[in-house]
Every structure is written in structure tokens, then in C-alpha cells.
């Protein structure tokens, strides 16, 4: 899993049926201190995260499909946690 910060939301009318009703967020990857790494990804939100929050993102297909109890969902990135603090 990776650390990131939510920097935006995506709205989409035309999409794959699996994504109907799913919330898509743009997550900027960040280091443990919260500093942005420059890279980003688009992830499905499963925990109710919002803009500006630090989040935990699962970026692996099998685990992501398990989250949605599906064998064939075309999903890989899922926000699975909201981070309060990281101690290093």
C-alpha cells in the first residue's frame, strides 16, 4: 500500500458499469512526512475520504477486487484508509 493525499475529485458519466456510483479521487503520492512525490493516481474511494486528507491506497488488483467482492472488476487502486499520523 502507498501513502498519498487526496488532491481532487473526478466526475464521470460515461464509464465502465463497475464504476457506476463509485467515487473517484485523484491521489498524489506522498512520503511518510506528507511531502508530495510528484506522482499521482486515480483511485476508488471505499472509506469516505475527502479532499486534502492523507490516505492509504491499495494499488494491487487482486486485493482491490477482494474489497469489492468481485472476481472480474477492472479495478486496481482503492483508498482503504484515512491516515491520522505516520511515525518513522
Amino acid at each position: 500500500m502507498i501513502l498519498g493525499r487526496v488532491i481532487g475529485t473526478i466526475t464521470s458519466t460515461i464509464n465502465h458499469p463497475f464504476y457506476d456510483g463509485k467515487k473517484l479521487l485523484v491521489v498524489e503520492k506522498a512520503d511518510p512526512s506528507g511531502a508530495p512525490l510528484g506522482d499521482y493516481l486515480v483511485a476508488v474511494d471505499d472509506v469516505g475520504a475527502g479532499e486534502g486528507e492523507r490516505v492509504l491506497v491499495l494499488d494491487e488488483g487482486n486485493g482491490a477486487r477482494q474489497v469489492f467482492a468481485s472476481k472480474d472488476a477492472p479495478v486496481r487502486s482503492v483508498i482503504v484508509g484515512i491516515i491520522d499520523d505516520v511515525t518513522t
Binding site: 487526496v6 488532491i7 481532487g8 475529485t9 473526478i10 466526475t11 464521470s12 458519466t13 460515461i14 464509464n15 465502465h16 463497475f18 464504476y19 473517484l24 485523484v26 498524489e28 499521482y40 493516481l41 486515480v42 483511485a43 479532499e51 486534502g52 488488483g61 482491490a64 472480474d72 472488476a73 477492472p74 479495478v75 486496481r76 487502486s77
Partner: protein, 106 residues
């Protein structure tokens, strides 16, 4: 998933079994500011509705093929959806191709 801008269409004359009729689009990946980043790639279009100029989000790897029907096909990038609007927290990050957050238009 990542964001990309459709910059063209690809018309194959022969495709692998299972890919007949699947639109192939030329997609330029963009960064979080909407600026081109990296080399363009060819992506199958699971929406079957995307066209040049549109901002889309696409999936790569094994999940790319899962978006298609039939799904056991040799594909490494697939367009999952077309972006209507997207907003960013930082206005400094907005690129020229994307309107400001308040406008919410792509």
C-alpha cells in the same frame, strides 16, 4: 488508474481473436496539472464512446483486459471512463488545458 488525453484513433486491420470491434485510441498520459507526461500509448476503449480531445482515465496491466468483454484478451491499457469534470485543491496546479476549479469543465 491515470488520466490521459485522447489524441487520435488507431484502426487495426487484423486483431487478435476477441478484440474485433474494440476501439483503439491513441492516448497521451497527462500529469496532475493536465500537461502531457511520457510517451503516448494505444488503449482499448471499454466505454466505446471516447474520442479525440477528451480527457479519460485508463487502467493498465491485468485489470485493463478485465474491463473488456470477452476479458481474456491481450490488452495492456484500457480506457475505463470519460472525465466530465475534475477539481484540484491547489489552483497553482491547474494546467492550461484544464479550466479552473470553479468552472469544472473538461
Amino acid at each position: 488508474m491515470l488520466l490521459g488525453r485522447v489524441i487520435g484513433t488507431v484502426v487495426p486491420c487484423v486483431v487478435y481473436e476477441g478484440l474485433q470491434g474494440v476501439p483503439m485510441l491513441f492516448v497521451q498520459p497527462v500529469n496532475k496539472s493536465g500537461e502531457p507526461k511520457g510517451a503516448p500509448l494505444v488503449a482499448a476503449d471499454a466505454t466505446r464512446m471516447a474520442g479525440p480531445g477528451e480527457l479519460v482515465y485508463y487502467e493498465g496491466g491485468r485489470e485493463a483486459a478485465l474491463a473488456l468483454d470477452p476479458w481474456f484478451v491481450p490488452v495492456d491499457h484500457t480506457i475505463i471512463g470519460i472525465v466530465d469534470t475534475w477539481g484540484q485543491t491547489s489552483k497553482d496546479d491547474l494546467g492550461t488545458t484544464l479550466l479552473p476549479r470553479s468552472s469544472f469543465e473538461v
